[in-house]
């Protein structure tokens, strides 16, 4: 005991030091804990977002699911542009077993260049397209290789079932599915919808563990564009135009069909044609939507506006006489010529024979300001506002010189687009009221909500009804034997029209060349025009006159359109029309039976009763159909679809077979999963 106590006393000093040193070590450890915790705060609080994002990048595979692009349909719902799901093949090069070998195998299966593919793999980080929009057999081949790091995703591919039909209007989309031209470009936002996102967790070995579909991020299908075009009229116009261009050995052409009462464009045709399915194969010249984007010197078709303006301003009357100077009239240092020298003529006669000198004299009577004013009132120099890219507005310069006044009176020295000319004639046909021309009647999104709707819009009264009627009746004489366009004359329908044969400016010599633009614009039937049809032939080689090269195409289009619409013939033919009552526009159609014209067309074109009757349609039976099919069918029968739920049609309201007004909303209740 004593010994121990002694020892204890002896070690006391070192023990005290021991206590201090142990305390010090404890302090060091606590400092260590503090340091580690500080680091944890830095990582988990300050760098949280960045690190979480980085971690996410490796375990979340976020695949963007392209939304189905909306359809573009004509006025009766016939699709002009549709989207079809096609497989695309992609790769994650970091997960490929061997980039070299894999590239070789894939290249062989897909008919690609192995070297180029390998280079793409080496350049890419985690994602690279191997082949987009691959054919089904190619997909099968790649699937058979069973390579790690290869993925497939459905991509909607744009498909134009009617090929060239209205190709310029519809436009084209690129590989990425973005609109590049035409309506595809103009309505890109509406058509493209909203891409969805699908997330899948993956582990370090690249296997997908869970597939989640975030409801909020489900893709939203693009909106459907309904056009005013009628695919049948469009077809007739394109066919007739192509034939006319070929017959005239011309370089190009355009045709416009317009409903003068509503301003709806029923056909917009261009030549050369464009197949939007294969834009790569098209010649550069074929991309232009000429009827909308080309402003050209129109020529004599403008004389009608001068006469209308002069009549309206009472500068002339129908019976005012003009000396047409035997075909040659000096204006300042220039001489104006007529193709066929004329003597003293009334305004009607001037239009009938298309005297430049006569028109120039009427223009003189009207005066510079009034002339320009009337052209402007008819819509020239203003963009028509169809919504298409690159719409031309044309130029109507103020005619300071006398010669300018003279030439502008017969449509030279100013420019206009085909759509503008058609719309302006529409004003004459519509008792002097100019309607705003339009092409897109409705944009309806995937929920059935109408995003945009165009209705017939009066722009302004250009001339009085009396003046308009008077000019139209003068224009009827144009297709008489003595007129410039007897070839436009129709047996059953009264036609009012005007030819135009303009000299083209040669940009190289800055003067007029011997090239021509020949055109004919007509309205039919003249007593109550249902359509204005413009045909323009660019650089005809055989004949150069509009009455010769363009008028026949007009007649072809009009001859097909009139019975298609069931328009009552103006001059009943003995056989065709004895006692026939034909339906007036916007009146519910009677069953087609007693109307031989309708019956004839129905049998010819296979058009259903629903397709041609003007007011009432039968509700189709949609039970059991997929939502997509049902909507297509409803649109085709001009009914407005209203969808509830998803899946297949369970019930519909009104019931199948019910006779309802066009545009009636049909409510479809959907149920069950697709597939």
């Amino acid at each position: 005991m004593r010994d121990l106590k002694h020892k204890a006393r002896k070690v006391d000093a070192p023990t005290r030091w021991l206590r201090v040193r142990v305390w010090l070590m404890g302090a060091v450890f606590f400092a260590g804990l503090l340091a580690v915790f500080t680091r944890a705060v830095a990582l988990q609080v300050h760098q949280n977002d960045r690190l979480r994002e980085m971690a996410r990048d490796q375990y979340i595979r976020e695949v963007e699911i392209a939304a189905r692009r909306g359809d573009i349909v004509d006025r009766v719902g016939a699709p002009l542009a549709q989207s079809v799901d096609v497989d695309s093949i992609w790769a994650d090069p970091t997960e490929l077993p061997d980039v070299k070998v894999s590239a070789k195998q894939l290249a062989k299966a897909l008919n690609l260049d192995p070297k180029e593919l390998r280079e793409r793999f080496e350049k890419a980080k985690r994602f690279v397209w191997v082949k987009r929009q691959a054919k089904p057999e190619e997909v099968a081949k790649v699937k058979a290789l069973a390579l790690n790091g290869i993925g497939f995703s459905k991509e909607p591919r744009r498909f134009y079932p009617q090929r060239e039909l209205a190709g310029h209007v519809v436009g084209i989309v690129g590989k990425e599915g973005k609109g590049l031209d035409g309506l595809e470009l103009a309505f890109e936002e509406e058509l493209s919808g909203q891409a969805g996102r699908r997330e899948g967790f993956r582990d370090a070995k690249g296997r997908k563990l869970v597939t989640q579909r975030l409801d909020d991020d489900a893709p939203r299908e693009g909106a459907t564009l309904t056009l005013t075009l009628d695919n049948r009229i469009q077809y007739m116009a394109e066919k007739a135009l192509a034939r006319a261009v070929a017959d005239a050995k011309a370089t190009a052409g355009m045709a416009v069909v317009l409903d003068p009462k509503s301003g709806e464009l029923l056909a917009l045709a261009n030549y050369p044609r464009l197949n939007p399915n294969t834009p790569n194969e098209a010649h550069a010249e074929a991309f232009r939507n000429r009827s909308v984007s080309d402003a050209f010197e129109p020529g004599s078709t403008f004389k009608a506006f001068v006469v209308a303006g002069a009549l309206e301003e009472k500068a002339i009357t129908e019976s005012t006489l003009f000396d047409c100077e035997k075909g040659a009239w000096r204006v300042g240092r220039h001489t104006i010529n007529d193709t066929h020298p004329q003597g003293i003529l009334t305004p009607g006669k001037i239009l009938q024979v298309s005297s430049n000198i006569g028109a120039a004299k009427i223009g003189q009577k009207l005066g510079r300001e009034k002339l320009v004013d009337y052209y402007a009132r008819f819509g020239f120099g203003d963009r028509p506002g169809l919504g298409l890219p690159g719409e031309a507005k044309g130029v109507v310069p103020f005619p300071k010189a006398d010669i300018s006044l003279a030439t502008e009176s017969f449509g030279q020295g100013l420019t206009a687009s085909a759509v503008q000319i058609a719309a302006a004639y529409g004003a004459l046909a519509n008792d002097g009221v100019l309607m705003r021309p339009y092409l897109v009647s409705k944009v309806v999104d995937s929920d059935g909500v109408v995003v945009l709707e165009n209705r017939p819009t009066e722009l302004r009264r250009v001339v009085s009804a009396r003046t308009a009627k008077s000019v139209v009746s003068m224009l009827e004489a144009v297709v008489e034997k003595e007129g410039t366009a007897p070839r436009a004359r129709m047996d059953q329908y009264r036609v009012a029209g005007k030819t135009g044969t303009a000299q083209k400016v040669d940009p190289l010599v800055r003067g007029y060349s011997d090239k021509r633009i020949a055109s004919f614009i007509g309205m039919v039937p003249a007593e109550n025009p249902r359509a204005v049809v413009l045909v323009v032939i660019d650089e005809p080689k055989t004949d150069v006159y509009g009455g010769l090269v363009a008028a026949p195409a007009f007649k072809e289009i009009a001859s097909a359109a009139m019975p298609y619409w069931g328009v009552v013939p103006s001059r009943p033919m003995a056989a065709a029309a004895s006692g026939v009552e034909s339906p007036k526009p916007l009146e519910p159609a009677k069953p087609s039976g007693p109307n031989p014209v309708l019956a004839a067309i129905a049998s010819l074109d296979g058009v259903t009763e629903n397709g041609i009757s003007e007011g009432a349609v039968r509700v189709p039976d949609l039970s059991g159909k997929s939502a997509r099919k049902a909507v297509t069918q409803l649109l085709a029968t001009t009914l407005e679809p209203h969808l509830l739920g998803t899946g297949r049609v369970k019930s519909q309201q009104p019931r199948a077979g019910a006779l309802v007004d066009k545009g009636t909303r049909v409510t479809l209740e959907l149920a069950g999963q697709l597939h």
Partner: protein, 393 residues
Amino acid sequence: MSSEAKKTPSYDPLLLGAVLALVGLGLVMVYSASAIMAQEKLNDSFYFLKRQAVAACIGLFVMAMAMKVGYRRVARYAYPLLILAVILLVMLLIPGVGSAANGAKRWIKFPGISIQPAEIAKMAWVIYLAYSMAKKREKVQSFSVGFVPHLAVCGVLVGLCMLQPDFGTSVGLLFLMFVMLFAGGAKLSYLVGSVLLALPFAYHAVASSPYRMQRIFGYLDPWANRKGSGYQVAESLMSIGSGGFTGLGLGDGRQKLFFLPEAHTDFIFSIIGEELGLLGVAALMLLYGVVIWRGIRASLGASEPFGTYLGLGITSLVAFQALVNMAVAMGLVPTKGLTLPFISYGGNSLIVLMGAAGLLLSISATAEGAKRRVRVARPARYEVPVGASEATA
């Protein structure tokens, strides 16, 4: 006095609670971190949990034994344990005996169990140092008696560890030696001097091989070599970082989906950080903080120098491993291969550490008694601060 000694020893409840909480948290995290991998590789998602649970049971038994037997009896096993550790470490080097993991020979496999000599060596080293310090007392200050022999034994152990190679354990052994020598009163000039002397050699060893250089300093910028040497650290950083304040939720971590290797062993801290967030990390810090605080307290209150040294040694062992493991996971120091004490999967480590905790608890029990007596004895300043219980015996 005698009545107090007869009383059942009062173990530090805070220390006991913290250790048990750590073991419990470890079981949960081992399961969370390993389940998917175990299901994938062994077709049994509970495989690692079951084995860890068995180890925890054995560990509890060993801990109870250590508490009952008391730390004093351990002193006499200091040399036998040290010799056993050396034998086991040497056995590892015999071809066919040592079992490799990740290119290093770490295990001696027996049917049913496998032994990790490094874990035993660390504990044997702590006991030996405590024994030696307590025995040599002020002689520790001398160069020949206090400094050189420890350095020599340490050299043997470290050399054997480096042959595996096991860098982490080597550093741990060196660290423990410095801590104990420091506490034992070794001259700071020797300690600092030896470190300064070692530096050029260490630098040469590292700098001579660009591979090792990159491996060791790669942690400084794990993103630069994300696919190579920086992979583990980068994944660990992303894991911890994505946990945020509250974590992704227990079991909802993504990084264990084979992105983070050793998720249930060396990098279990990353999963804790990811799934339990900063709150979980704070709780873990708190538990280790309690262990360190109560360990130091027990050490200071020990009734004899051996207890003080042993308490410090055990506390240092736990603290060093915990700090280094967490620092590695957060990219503060190079990868070491040290487990997170009480948490990481690994039976050897868990059993040894729980045994060590038992010893620490037994020190705390005597400390309680000693403290009370010290307080009573305070007026007589030089009375019986040490060896009181021996005196009563």
